[in-house]
Assembly symmetry: C2
Homo-oligomer: 188 residues x 2
């Protein structure tokens, strides 16, 4: 593995860790297992990330930061007619491309008592803010607290319906699934 | 604790285990911690439930079975005008009354590679079927697969917005939160 650039090693470790943690949970996944699945030496995991908790914090913060950036781009531009539809579409695409990360987020985002609680809370806040912004756009009278609840409802609808699709109806086309979600998630 | 009836001991163990697992995860929670938090002897946990995995399987199947029964009642009757609104209301009430269980469901329902995967899959199916039925009621032309996706979207919207509320905006009134979710989750 020594011929790989550092960035590629980090990526292999992250991908292996997300897959294992999505299936078995953080505490049931060992650094040995992550190193083996990534095809790197155990020392390489510690060298690149510090502890297992630090690795997982990196995974969550990097992943949600990237997700938030993608959502912000979708908020501004895309083929769907409304900002909210563009966000739902972009989020569903991310879930399909990386279901393991979506499972980990669903598992961790509301836990308390974990080492990475604070950092995920801050980043989660930014992702939810994009959805709240989409809900509030064009409706200056909407209470920001209501926009926040509505935004998290749209986020949750897409997350759960997306994982439901991939776990239980994987043969359905993304277009059909997206259309069904958008029929449900619509401002009254 | 010997004066308590068996049902009460089981309930204490379940409540303590759900709280601990919601905060720290299944693998990071020990039977010692569960027994201590429940105020029972460690042997009592094994006597009532078998292994820690068996305890957690009992928690998930009993909890989702009770949830499904409550949802089915709400589907039939309640003050809200539509079946879907009654389901969202009933689910939000359950999340408020037992947020720890809601967190555990969010964490486990899409995992693979856990001992309780199969039983939670079956029970989850029944809970989602109630939502799909509510979405499909009065619309005989709706594709059942679409109803399923839409139902899981409504379930996910309520779950995530409900946990978001309790975790990040706990001072808001349940009425306001419910109204905001229902503004978002509405058939187009």
């Amino acid at each position: 593995m020594s011929e790989l650039p550092v960035g590629a090693t980090r990526r292999q470790i992250i991908d292996a860790a997300v897959r294992l943690i999505a299936d078995h949970g953080f505490s049931a996944t060992s650094v040995d297992q992550i190193a083996e699945a990534a095809g790197v030496a155990k020392g390489s995991v510690y060298y690149n990330f510090g502890s297992k908790a630090d690795l997982f914090t990196s995974i969550l913060t990097e992943g949600i930061t990237r997700l938030t950036a993608n959502l912000r781009t979708a908020l501004e531009t895309g083929p769907e007619p409304t900002p909210l539809e563009r966000l739902v579409t972009a989020l569903l695409r991310q879930i399909r491309d990386n279901p393991a990360f979506a499972k980990v987020v669903a598992a961790e985002v509301f836990r308390t008592g974990r080492d990475w609680q604070e950092s995920i809370g801050l980043i989660h806040d930014q992702a939810m803010a994009v959805f709240a912004e989409a809900v509030g756009l064009g409706d200056p009278d909407l209470d920001p607290l209501d926009a926040r609840v509505m935004g998290s409802a749209a986020f949750g609808a897409t997350l759960v319906a997306g994982l439901e699709w991939l776990t239980y109806q994987p043969d359905r086309s993304p277009t059909d699934v997206l259309a069904a979600i958008l029929r449900m998630v619509r401002r009254a």
